[in-house]
């Protein structure tokens, strides 16, 4: 792997990181609007408001960057970066198209699943830091809720991912996809459901958005943020959607597998990611927010047992075969 190759891969990942979250954001604007009988943004950019998020970005960049008096200044200013950068790192490790050796991926990592899940967990730290450093009771409440949610949902997420790793016999993401067969789809469906749901909860997306619940605690950990730092938190949310959808697609929906996978593998990955992103938006429009205790109950009494069941099922099938 020479320097040019590395540079190209990194640029490609960075480009995807800058473009895909905005695409998801724009889709959310439009899909949510139409699901509510509206049309959404129509003016920015001329054609059906395609440049709405660009306009939003310009607006955010113009705003004053306020740090509250009592805030822990450096932690407060660092938090958005902590929230955003992990998703960029995760994107590096996601395989997009089949290729021998290194594969169609920014950087193939032997313990890919470990890396990806560990780094995704770091992203939530941004919310915790923001919540603690803001010197605001709503931020603190939001941060505490984030922490509780992280504790509850990291476990089923790990267990579900472990099931796939068991089935494939490897921790490498390209390795899992190499071992993937179509019948894994029904076999791992429970795990897929658990992984996707737990991922939603970690991203604090509705219906698991009690940590940001704007009608209860203003905007949780982000209450005191303004301007570009606030925009970075929002961007982190959408980057999170992309990463979660891509990971679910890779682990449970077969990633690049599909007709003409040799040439169109990347398209299959993107399609599956897009479909799951749509589902994320769809869920937001359809369901009301869960209460804090309901969120905990879903995790401990439904998702964890389901994940354990999936692991048992995977183990049994693996031994019998």
């Amino acid at each position: 792997m020479d320097a040019l190759d590395v540079t190209l891969r990194l640029v490609a990942v960075l480009l995807a990181f800058l473009v895909l979250p905005l695409l998801v954001g724009q889709t959310e604007h439009k899909v949510m609007a139409h699901m509510q009988g509206r049309v959404g943004p129509m003016y920015a950019g001329g054609f059906h408001g395609w440049a709405q998020l660009v306009a939003d970005g310009v607006k955010f960049a113009q705003k004053e960057d306020v740090v509250p008096d009592g805030a822990d200044r450096r932690i407060f200013q660092l938090a958005p970066a902590i929230a955003l950068i992990p998703y960029l790192l995760v994107l590096v490790a996601i395989p997009v198209w089949p290729a021998p050796g290194n594969g169609g991926v920014g950087q193939a990592i032997d313990a890919g699943i470990f890396f990806v899940l560990a780094v995704m967990g770091v992203g939530v730290l941004g919310s915790l830091m923001g919540g603690w450093a803001s010197a605001n009771k709503f931020s603190l409440l939001g941060g505490l809720r984030t922490a509780a949610q992280l504790m509850a949902y990291e476990l089923p997420m790990l267990l579900a991912a472990a099931s796939v790793a068991m089935a494939a016999g490897t921790l490498s993401l390209p390795g899992i996809l190499d071992a993937w067969e179509w019948w894994w789809l029904p076999w791992q469906i429970i795990g897929g459901f658990v992984f996707f749901t737990a991922g939603l909860a970690e991203l604090q997306r509705p219906p698991f958005d009690a940590p940001v619940a704007d009608s209860e605690i203003i905007f949780g950990a982000y209450t005191e943020y303004t301007g570009l730092r606030f925009a970075l938190f929002l961007l982190a949310e959408y980057a999170g959607i992309v990463v979660l959808s891509a990971l679910t697609a890779v682990l449970f929906l077969g990633g690049w597998h599909g007709p003409f996978a040799d040439g169109l593998g990347w398209l299959w990955t993107l399609l599956k990611t897009a479909l799951l992103s749509f589902v994320v938006i769809w869920l937001r429009v359809s369901y009301p927010r869960l209460r804090e205790d309901q969120i905990q109950r879903v995790a401990w009494t439904a998702l964890v047992p389901l994940a354990l069941l999936q692991i048992a099922l995977t183990g049994v099938v693996k031994v019998v075969m």
Partner: protein, 193 residues
């Protein structure tokens, strides 16, 4: 609360189905600045003044709950209609203005006007950057008259409008009278034969 007979998760699926169905249908958004709204015929947009009908009776200004109608007038004497008669005096309108910054669009002025000088117009695009310009003077109020829609048609079996009924009665009477006279003349012409 889900009914006990319902399958678990059917409510969740129903929620998803509702939003998905809505997405596939046309949105309800009115594209206002791009497309003009279709307003009902009796929309209260702006008030037009038909100043030829105004007699400066001041009823509108007095009934207005917000005191947003300003009227100035003076008296003029008119020479007698018949020679040797008395001179008549007549009110002449100097200023008629409605301050739409105060107006609450109750329509009482239009209701009380006994001479049909005030009308509703559905025009509503007269926003201003200066509040003083929301006071529409006489000429501007007169201009709005051109936008007043014709009154809605009567119901199929409705009574005739009073004006038409009165006019028709007069015309019928005149026709009857003329017919009677004609008959009389014919009789007179017939007698000498």
């Amino acid at each position: 609360m889900s009914r006990p007979s319902a399958v678990f998760g059917s409510g969740l699926a129903k929620g998803l189905a509702v939003t998905f169905r809505t997405m596939t249908r046309r949105s309800h958004t009115a594209h206002y600045p791009d497309a003009q709204p279709e307003l009902p015929p009796r929309s209260r947009g702006v008030i037009g003044l038909f100043e030829e009908n105004c007699t400066v009776c001041m009823l509108c200004a007095r009934e207005c709950p917000d005191w947003c109608i300003y009227i100035d007038s003076h008296k003029e004497t008119v020479p007698p209609a018949a020679p040797g008669g008395r001179e008549r005096s007549r009110n002449v309108l100097d200023r008629f203005a409605i301050d739409f910054a105060l107006c609450m669009y109750c329509g009482i002025c239009i209701e009380v006007c006994p001479f049909d000088a005030l009308f509703w117009s559905p025009e509503f695009e007269y926003a201003e950057t200066d509040i003083h310009e929301l006071t529409h003077e006489r000429d501007r109020l007169r201009e709005w008259m051109w936008t007043v829609p014709e009154p809605p048609a009567l119901d199929p079996a409705a009574e005739e409008p009073k004006e038409i009924a009165a006019a028709r009665k007069t015309a019928e009477k005149a026709a009857e009278k003329a017919a009677a006279e004609a008959a009389e003349q014919a009789e007179q012409r017939g007698e000498p034969e």
